[in-house]
């Protein structure tokens, strides 16, 4: 009887998680061509696809872009989100309305925000370059120069990620008892001391989960980069996610095997981050 109640979840997990994952692993371990994808009988290739991917000249730059993209996005999203959360904690007129407005980037479909960013950052007719021109700065080829393209997609991604950090950290702040602050005020703690000795330590569990979720979201960001730069020019803003898509779907002759291999590497990276989180949580409980 108990198993009966469990069955829907188990079937759901198997059909929508286990099987696709299994297929992706299988795809990465065989040498698929379009012919064997349709007709079947792709030979087992062991780790050949992984070897192809790892020895590809694009691998290390792409991995570096992924790490820079993820790291920079997280740092800026988190600090700006935290600053805004603290700011909105002090109630002032219209604070509710303003907070709601800051959530807008989160509600917009990604295709809309990414296209808007690519218009803003257009080399010749973009608003950003026009604004720079007003203060006398030469136009920057935001999306079309290899030195700037990664920065541009990071800026867009930070902008999109701030609301999420704001919401989670803000609700975390609500959970910190006011008495602690009152006591510290009586002891004469400055605002800076209050932040580092009370807010930050008490917010640590919320911060950890925000950063972990942010990490997992950011590792697999695809839409923004693809819409804004297609990972280019010449791979200068490509991450593992866009590379995996390009291998599997971006060419008329799909390379499913290497594409799946890159996808699996991404999953492993997210998994490691998750394990590190669980471990640190456990250590905290033991203390």
């Amino acid at each position: 009887m108990a198993w009966g109640f469990l069955a829907p979840t188990v079937v759901y997990l198997l059909a929508f998680y286990a099987y696709p994952l299994y297929r992706n692993v299988e795809l990465s371990l065989r040498e698929y061509t379009v012919r064997s994808f349709v007709q079947g009988g792709a030979p087992f290739a062991g780790l050949d696809n992984y070897r192809t991917v790892l020895t590809d000249p694009a691998f290390w730059p792409t991995l570096a872009h992924t790490l820079v993209f993820t790291g920079a996005s997280l740092v800026f999203q988190f600090t700006i989100g935290m600053a805004l959360a603290l700011f909105f904690r002090q109630h002032f007129p219209l604070s509710g309305t303003l907070r709601a407005l800051i959530l807008v980037p989160w509600l917009l479909p990604l295709i809309v925000s990414a296209s808007t960013w690519s218009w803003l950052l257009n080399s010749d007719s973009g608003l950003v370059n026009a604004a720079l021109g007003v203060v006398g700065i030469d136009p920057v080829n935001w999306l079309t120069s290899p030195t700037w393209s990664l920065t541009s997609v990071i800026i867009a991604n930070v902008w999109i990620g701030i609301p999420f950090n704001l919401v989670v950290l803000y609700s975390g702040l609500q959970a910190i008892p006011v008495e602690v602050y009152e006591a510290s005020a009586l002891d004469g703690a400055s605002g800076w001391q209050r932040f580092w000795s009370i807010t930050f330590p008490l917010l640590r569990p919320v911060s950890a989960i925000t950063l972990l979720l942010g990490l997992i979201y950011t590792l697999k960001v695809f839409d923004i980069i693809w819409i804004m730069t297609r990972g280019g020019p010449t791979g200068s803003s490509a991450t593992l996610a866009t590379w995996s898509y390009r291998l599997g779907f971006g060419n008329m002759l799909p390379e499913f095997g290497p594409g799946a291999a890159v996808g699996n590497l991404l999953i492993v990276m997210a998994l490691i981050a998750g394990l590190v989180y669980i471990r640190s949580q456990r250590r905290q409980y033991q203390r």
């Binding site: 059909a15 929508f16 099987y19 696709p20 297929r23 992706n24 061509t33 379009v34 012919r35 994808f37 349709v38 007709q39 079947g40 989160w106 990604l110 690519s118 257009n122 080399s123 010749d124 007719s125 080829n141 999306l143 079309t144 120069s145 290899p146 991604n157 999109i160 990620g161 999420f164 979201y217 950011t218 697999k220 960001v221 695809f222 839409d223 923004i224 693809w226 730069t229 297609r230 990972g231 280019g232 020019p233 010449t234 791979g235 200068s236 996610a241 898509y245 779907f249 971006g250 060419n251 008329m252 002759l253 799909p254």
Partner: protein, 414 residues
């Protein structure tokens, strides 16, 4: 922040997985209902812009009725359709008639998903050989072109008059560049095109590449370098905007529509939008390096008959395709799609009915299939290094020579 597409794809894979599981249970019943004679015939096309009350769907239904079957039609987004068609072939539930973008034909043929004209008895003798080429590989033909489009140069008449340029004088690269310089001297912009890092970028570069006399089998030839140098110099001298590196053909068209550009490289499919421009426009063929029209790549779709388990369905599918591609229906279809017909006689009729199409008919006659010259599925492996080289040279990372040498090395290593 999220991976919408990735999640959607994962969901798609999962649905397919589920379908595969359930297919085992009901495969015996689903196949029997539609036997060889009557029943429903599935047609997939890449024209989602046509609703059920459009002329195109009406034509499909009419052809179905005259073949004694009902037609069930689904319109997909072009880029979506390739993956859909491959997955359908894998699952053994391909449509009876599949209309796809021409370079995809060689990929699907390589996958063994399409029937040859020997098997499906389609008559392709009336089709123009340069258009049919994209659907042929290894001496076999895998479909019929339904219409063709290609690239030419749109120009802004008002800007050229103001700059004192006669469009008829633009016949080779030198005269084109000097026309662009004159326009720039008037404070306007020269030319816009699309050099994006996808197949679209290669598509737009090919007229210049082929127009220099270069061949796709040798990406680093001196001719190829001269074509890429032409583009790079335009950017360096400010005759073309830096944004071309990220332009799709649609954004490039929007730049032209702003009225600030004298020339735009774009396709037949923009003709309807061209009529809505706020200025008067004209078209000329893309000039080759030494003069005359350069061969532009052909775009446009092919009608194909995918492999079925029940081979007795081919006879009816063949009737459907023949109906869709007979002269009168081609004229109607290609007029609605603003394509050039694949049959010489119909092309002539189009040019007499609409003189504006004359340039396009000539451009299509000079055009080449990308997968032609027996390249087939080798083309995608050449095209990706090519568009990467274009991007590398234009964005300033490499010189045209370096970029193309790297491209050739990468194309031969795959």
């Amino acid at each position: 922040m999220t991976g919408l597409n990735r999640r959607r794809r994962l969901a798609a894979v999962a649905v397919i997985a589920l379908a595969a599981v359930t297919a085992g249970a009901c495969s015996s019943s689903s196949g029997d209902s539609d036997g060889g004679g009557g029943g429903a015939y599935l047609v997939w096309d890449p024209y989602p812009q046509f609703a059920d009350d459009s002329d195109w769907v009406a034509l499909l239904k009419k052809c179905g009725t005259s073949a004694g079957v009902t037609v069930e039609r689904t319109g997909y987004d072009t880029t979506d359709l390739t993956n859909k068609a491959l997955l359908a072939a894998q699952q053994g539930n391909s449509p009876d008639v599949l209309i796809v973008d021409n370079p995809v034909i060689s990929t699907l043929a390589e996958a063994g998903a399409l029937t040859t004209t020997e098997e499906n008895k389609l008559d392709v003798s009336s089709m123009a050989p340069n258009l049919l080429g994209a659907g042929q590989s290894g001496g076999k033909t895998y479909g019929v072109p339904i219409g063709a489009n290609t690239l030419a140069l749109y120009y802004n008449k008002d800007l050229l008059t103001a700059a004192g340029v006669d469009p008829a004088s633009v016949t080779d690269w030198t005269s084109l560049t000097s026309a662009l310089t004159k326009v720039k001297a008037k404070g306007k912009k020269g030319i816009t095109f699309s050099a994006i890092g996808t197949e679209e970028g290669s598509f737009q570069f090919l007229p210049w590449f082929w127009g220099s006399g270069a061949q796709l089998t040798s990406l680093d030839s001196p001719q190829a370098v001269s074509a890429l140098t032409l583009w790079k110099d335009w950017l360096k001298q400010g005759l073309a905007p830096n944004s071309v590196i990220n332009n799709t053909q649609t954004t490039s068209w929007q730049e032209f529509a702003s009225g600030n550009f004298a020339f735009a490289e774009n396709g037949t499919w923009q003709l309807a939008n061209a009529e809505k421009l706020g200025f008067s426009y004209g078209t000329i063929a893309i000039p080759a390096s030494a003069g005359g029209p350069a061969p532009a790549p052909t775009g446009g779709e092919f009608v194909s008959i995918p492999v079925q388990k029940k081979t007795d369905r081919y006879a009816t599918s063949q009737k459907l395709v023949t109906c869709l591609t007979n002269a009168d229906n081609l004229l109607t279809t290609d007029t609605t799609l603003s394509y050039v017909a694949p049959v010489t006689a119909v092309q002539d009729r189009q040019a007499t009915e609409n003189p504006k199409l004359k340039v396009w008919v000539e451009a299509v006659r000079a055009a080449k299939g990308r997968t032609g010259d027996n390249l087939g599925t080798k083309y995608p492996k050449i095209s990706e290094p090519l568009w990467t080289a274009v991007q590398a040279a234009l964005s300033g990372g490499k010189s045209p020579q370096e970029a193309l040498t790297a491209a050739q090395a990468s194309a031969t290593s795959k």
